[in-house]
């Protein structure tokens, strides 16, 4: 048993900071309403630290509250992508030695989503935050289809190249549009030989590993992911799928 609570200034003080907007003009009544709302959330010793008018019909609040809820940390489960991580040269050397062929990866930002930022960060030569993109790896054959790609087009390309992995990026998640898009992709894939064979990777600013697993992917990568994280994951997962012994 390892009970934990939010930590403000002292262990177990349970202090939480909240920020939100209410659709009412700032004033004594709005402030009281904010305080009552935070109490309704289950907080005690509520402090409305600031109330700012945001235009004439809205107000913005910063509040503090003490929560007496706690959690047994030992009983928390969170799936994680786990494998050793190699640098650029070491990973290329491993692929050369153990697979003897380049790993084929196809990626796209699917549906109407026009944002290439995520998929480009992983694929483009230059990569992201000083970490080379997949196109730079001599032992990856990386094909980036860009944004606004229909799921069927991505699957067709993956089939044509006999892809080892399919990378899907989704930036826009308003009203869960991303879930619709990836469900459509999974439905198409299920009718193909690639199903169960190709590694399915999902990435985006509001994507995490657990959510990706729930949607039928092998792994999910959230904000801050570097190309080498994806490269290493795909290599290890591929070895696993091919039944290669552990190193």
């Amino acid at each position: 048993m390892n009970l934990i609570r939010p930590y403000g200034d002292r262990r177990d003080d349970g202090l939480v900071q909240l920020a939100f907007t209410l659709p009412v003009p700032a004033g004594a009544k709005a402030k009281e309403a904010a305080s009552q709302l935070v109490k309704k959330m289950g907080f005690k010793s509520v402090l409305v630290a600031s109330m700012e008018p945001a235009g004439e019909r809205f107000s913005v609040f910063v509040c503090y509250g003490r929560g007496d809820f706690a959690l047994d940390f030992d009983r928390v489960e969170a799936p994680e992508v786990k494998h050793p991580k190699h640098g650029f040269d070491a990973l290329n050397a491993r692929i050369a030695e153990r697979l003897g062929r380049p790993i084929v990866v196809v990626g796209a930002c699917i549906g109407s989503d026009a944002h290439t930022t995520g998929i480009d960060a992983i694929f483009n030569m230059k990569g992201y935050a000083g970490d080379y993109g997949l196109e730079r790896y001599p032992w990856f054959r990386a094909v980036n289809l860009g944004a606004q790609v229909e799921p069927a087009v991505l699957v067709a390309k993956a089939k044509e190249l006999n892809a080892d992995a399919i990378l899907v990026s989704q930036i826009v998640t308003q009203r869960d549009i991303h879930k619709e898009n990836v469900r459509a992709l999974i439905e198409i894939l299920k009718g193909e030989d690639l199903w169960g064979k190709a590694i399915l990777v999902f990435g985006g600013p509001r994507i995490d590993h657990k959510q990706a697993l729930d949607l039928g992917f092998d792994a999910g990568f959230g904000p801050g992911t570097r190309p080498s994280d994806v490269a290493n994951y795909v290599y290890y997962r591929l070895c696993e799928k091919l039944g290669l012994p552990e190193e």
């Binding site: 920020a19 939100f20 907007t21 700012e52 945001a54 235009g55 004439e56 019909r57 809205f58 913005v60 109407s112 989503d113 026009a114 944002h115 290439t116 930022t117 480009d120 483009n124 030569m125 230059k126 935050a129 000083g130 860009g146 606004q148 826009v172 998640t173 308003q174 009203r175 549009i177 600013p205 509001r206 904000p223 801050g224």
Partner: protein, 520 residues
């Protein structure tokens, strides 16, 4: 004062090269029209609304003319011929005309002249009405305060709820908190639609559709807010994608103040055909010039895909090319808002000096233009507290270097479309930084051999080399080699090529004649 440490002879050389690059393709632009240009001309003649299938009437008419292989003569010419025999439904009239035997044979000289004169008269009347609305807007604006104070960048924020009525609520609130410019983000897929949707819209992802009715509703709300605040609130939308000319026309008709409009953005970042974009940017910019709309170019996008420090020279080179194209479309410097951004990896050292170097260079290379400064986005990852500080640094560079327009960064970038409270925090801190650093720029002098000066020279030399190469090999070849934004495109690839049509010798577009100042 922003300082420029680049040899003026090199700047002159770079402008000459950019002019040559634009001239090489302008000749081809002048020999072509596009379906979107023709639809725009029809719209000026009052061809509006949708047909029974929900498709815009302008699209139905232009598609039918293209099928009949006669669009090269100009849609307005055929509209004139079709309506000459009476009737008011343009789709039915064009259908009837094309169905008649000998319909496509030329009229007698006298009839031909009478027809063209008649259409020119109507075009003049419609363009005059457009001009009247623009003058009305200008007069309204002249009676109000503009911006926080003389020399402060216009504080530009976006609304992106996906519902025009929610957008209006948020735009009003933003204006009340100090926003000077409101941009209504479009639904993610709109740039690839080859038509403009109709009416007020309450759906879309990452924004709602750009429609003429949405423009009207938002401008009406902002007029009322501007009047109440005594400060003019500008409205922006997107003249990019497959309908650049039509959006520009609708923006002009509904008194928009700014439009995102770039000579290369669609080619590089939306994979729209190269010639389609080049033709469309020309016509749309002619409209912007006529309607006093300030365009915002999109060079900031180059450094969100490529490394910002590495690719800084592509921003500078592309701005000069965009300028050359804008001049060829009759635009004045005062209406060209060159885009660039604060985007260098914050983990590095001396990024503030390197950002100042570029921001001052862009400012001084285009002294009369309201250059538009974009906030950092690429290196934001959900740490909203860090992001807020990061944005404040961009605010500091913007006020110090005298940027004309500043898109304010959102601390929740990379998380979701901006919350009302995100805009509140951004506006409050930008107003603080502007106030605190109001005269910092005019008191500050950089060393002629310091980091800033050396950085400017290095970037400009690389920009000049890129312009030399582009002028030598042509813009098409340079784009083919991914010289801009790290993206390679071919002249036969991309969307919308089938909508590019060669003009016939007797091509008729009285709207273009007016925009080019060629009418009698």
């Amino acid at each position: 004062m922003a300082q420029l440490f680049v040899d003026p002879a090199k700047v002159g050389r770079a402008r000459d090269l950019a002019g040559r690059i634009a001239d090489q393709v302008q000749a081809r632009i002048d020999r072509h029209t596009t379906v979107s240009i023709e639809r725009t001309a029809l719209r000026l003649f009052g061809v509006a609304g949708t047909g029974s299938t929900g498709a815009p009437v302008a699209n139905l008419v232009v598609d039918r003319l293209q099928q009949a292989n006669v669009l090269g003569k100009g849609a307005v010419y055929w509209l004139g011929r079709a309506l000459k025999d009476g009737g008011s439904d343009p789709v039915k009239a064009v259908e009837r005309l094309l169905g008649q035997p000998g319909a496509l044979s030329p009229l007698s000289m006298a009839e031909e002249r009478a027809l063209r004169d008649q259409m020119r008269r109507e075009a003049r009347a419609a363009a005059g009405e457009l001009k009247r609305r623009v003058r009305e807007r200008n007069a309204f604006k002249a009676g109000l305060q503009v911006g926080a104070f003389e020399g402060a960048p216009l504080r530009y924020v976006i609304v992106a709820t996906g519902n025009i009525f929610d957008d209006i609520d948020q735009a009003r609130a933003a204006a009340e908190q100090g926003a000077d410019v409101v941009a209504v983000i479009r639904s993610t897929a709109q740039s690839l639609l080859d038509y403009v949707p109709q009416g007020a819209t309450t759906e879309g992802f990452g924004g709602t559709f750009a429609t003429q009715e949405n423009f009207r509703l938002m401008r009406e709300a902002l007029d009322e807010t501007s009047r109440r605040l005594g400060r003019y609130v500008h409205l922006t939308n997107y003249s990019s994608g497959l309908c650049m000319p039509e959006i520009a026309y609708m923006g002009a008709a509904e008194r928009l103040d700014m439009l995102l409009n770039d000579a290369m953005y669609g080619i590089l970042f939306r994979d729209i055909n190269l010639w389609r974009t080049l033709c469309d940017q020309y016509f749309s910019r002619r409209i912007c010039a006529y309607a006093d709309i300030t365009i915002n170019t999109g060079e900031d996008n180059y450094i969100t895909t490529a490394d910002a420090d590495e690719a800084a020279h592509t921003v500078v080179a592309s701005q000069l090319i965009n300028e050359a194209f804008a001049h060829r479309a009759g635009m004045k410097d005062e209406r060209i808002g060159f885009g660039h951004s604060f985007e260098i990896d914050p983990d590095r050292e001396d990024t503030l000096l390197r950002e100042l170097a570029l921001a001052m260079m862009v400012r001084e290379l285009h002294p009369k233009s309201p250059v538009k400064y974009m906030p950092p986005t690429k290196h934001k990852n959900g740490d909203i507290f860090f992001a807020h500080v990061y944005d404040a640094m961009a605010d500091l560079v913007a006020i110090t270097t005298g940027q004309g327009i500043q898109l304010l960064g959102m601390m929740t970038e990379a998380l979701h479309t901006p919350f009302l409270q995100d805009r509140h925090a951004a506006l409050k801190s930008a107003s603080y930084v502007y106030r605190a650093a109001r005269h910092l720029g005019s008191d500050l002098t950089f060393k002629p051999e310091g980091i800033v000066a050396r950085r400017q020279r290095e970037v400009f030399d690389r920009a000049l080399a890129l312009l030399e190469e582009t002028a030598r090999d042509g813009m098409v070849a340079a784009i083919g080699r991914a010289r801009f934004g790290d993206v390679a495109r071919t002249e036969t690839g991309g969307k919308g090529l089938s909508g590019v049509v060669q003009r016939a010798d007797d091509y008729f577009n009285p709207f273009l004649e007016i925009l080019e100042g060629r009418e009698d």
